[in-house]
């Protein structure tokens, strides 16, 4: 799945996160994560984000995340929503969203 336009999903409310995606200028996948709990859960958040992007076959793009203490399931959902909104596909492939 390719990110072809800028898109956002989520909010900056507590227990949520804001995900911004944009096409890559460099052809790389750049992930930036800011979180109030980065010291405790930074690695876990990064793992959930990269795993979610892997399943969606997103290999390039800019992914910026501002986390407000979201659970893993919320992180997965918001990353998926932002990528789907910014991609060239408007139909969900549920096998890749599991």
């Amino acid at each position: 799945m390719r990110v072809i336009k800028e898109a956002i999903a989520g909010t900056l409310e507590s227990s949520d996160l804001l995900v911004k995606v944009a096409p890559s200028d460099t052809g790389r996948l750049d992930i930036v994560i800011q979180s109030e709990v980065i010291k405790q859960f930074g690695k876990q958040i990064k793992r959930v984000v990269t795993d979610t992007l892997d399943k969606l076959s997103v290999s390039e793009g800019s992914i910026v995340i501002e986390d407000k203490g979201a659970l893993d399931c919320v992180i997965r959902a918001r990353v998926q929503a932002a990528v789907l909104r910014g991609s060239d596909s408007d139909e969900a492939d549920w096998g890749k969203l599991s």
């Binding site: 999903a9 659970l71 399931c73 919320v74 959902a77 789907l84 969900a92 549920w94 969203l97 599991s98």
Partner: protein, 288 residues
């Protein structure tokens, strides 16, 4: 027998609510993709609910998803997310006829087969929100063996009836409540009463719970977590009712042991409906 006193609405686009709703221990949690979610957030909410359904915290509680109507651009997508996410019950809003349940069931079967779920695993319930729905309540309640409950939704119904809530004994809702209850009883499924919108008015809420309970509703749809405990307390049997239920079951056990079909307790006959009622009393007492 599944206890269904409280069905707590959780807006499908509210991450904080989805992350915490289980701690309030309602009997069922209903993730709402319909009225609580704005059209531009439907896609994101659908994914949130899909992921929440798979969270370990929601494996121990009955989950319900209120999808958008199948006549909208969102309904089928919501249904895909709910069934594939493993929801226990799909709630169809604004149900006017049995045909709508048949259509819903056909789509559920298709999705269950496509995602490898056991066919028949996903249960259904309908919300009645119009005069047509009330008139067709029996047909709706009996439209499928998957049906587990039917609910009356007051706001849209009263608009359809050209009236509004009056408070007090609510005569404007009496016919609809009675019709939905009779449909539920004829179909042997549960019945849910309307939501009470003023979350700060405990007195009004409890007055309405008393009416619903006395009429025979199994439970009530709730829009705020603080209503869960209030409702459970109101539905809790009194110590006298619990003691009587225990004596009924003990008498029935003795009769069974002695090979007797019926037995009397305090001069009153103990038969299967009385035993069933006693079991329900003890179940409610245990859960309260």
């Amino acid at each position: 027998m599944k206890l269904r006193r409280s069905m707590l609405f959780v807006p499908g686009d509210n991450a904080a609510a989805l992350s915490t709703a289980f701690v309030y221990k309602p009997d069922s949690i209903m993730f709402d993709l319909e009225d609580a979610v704005s059209p531009r957030e439907k896609d994101s909410a659908r994914l949130l609910v899909f992921q929440a359904l798979r969270h370990p915290a929601y494996q121990e509680i009955e989950t319900v998803v209120r999808i958008n109507g199948l006549n909208t651009e969102f309904g089928l997508k919501d249904l895909e997310a709910a069934v594939r996410g493993g929801v226990d019950v799909v709630r169809l809003p604004k149900t006017d006829s049995a045909d709508e349940i048949h259509e819903l069931e056909a789509h559920v079967v298709r999705i269950e087969k496509a995602c490898g779920r056991l066919v028949g695993d996903t249960k259904l319930m309908a919300a009645i929100e119009s005069a047509s729905g009330v008139v067709n309540a029996v047909a709706i309640a009996t439209a499928s063996p998957r049906m587990i409950a039917i609910a009356i939704a007051g706001f849209d119904y009263l608009v359809d009836m050209h009236t509004k809530r009056s408070g007090g004994s609510e005569p404007e809702l009496f016919y609809a409540r009675a019709a939905v209850l009779h449909a539920a009883r004829a179909a042997h499924i549960d019945a849910f009463d309307v939501v009470y919108g003023d979350v700060n008015d405990d007195e009004g809420f409890l007055r309405e719970v008393t009416i619903a309970r006395q009429l025979g509703f199994d439970g009530k749809s709730l829009i705020h977590p603080r209503q869960v405990e209030l409702l459970h307390r109101a539905y809790a049997p009194t110590p006298q009712e619990v003691e009587h239920a225990r004596r009924v079951l003990a008498a029935a056990e003795t009769a069974h042991h002695n090979g007797l079909g019926v037995v009397a307790l305090d001069g009153k006959m103990i038969d299967p409906p009385v035993i069933e009622e006693a079991e329900m009393v003890l179940q409610r007492a245990e859960a309260s």
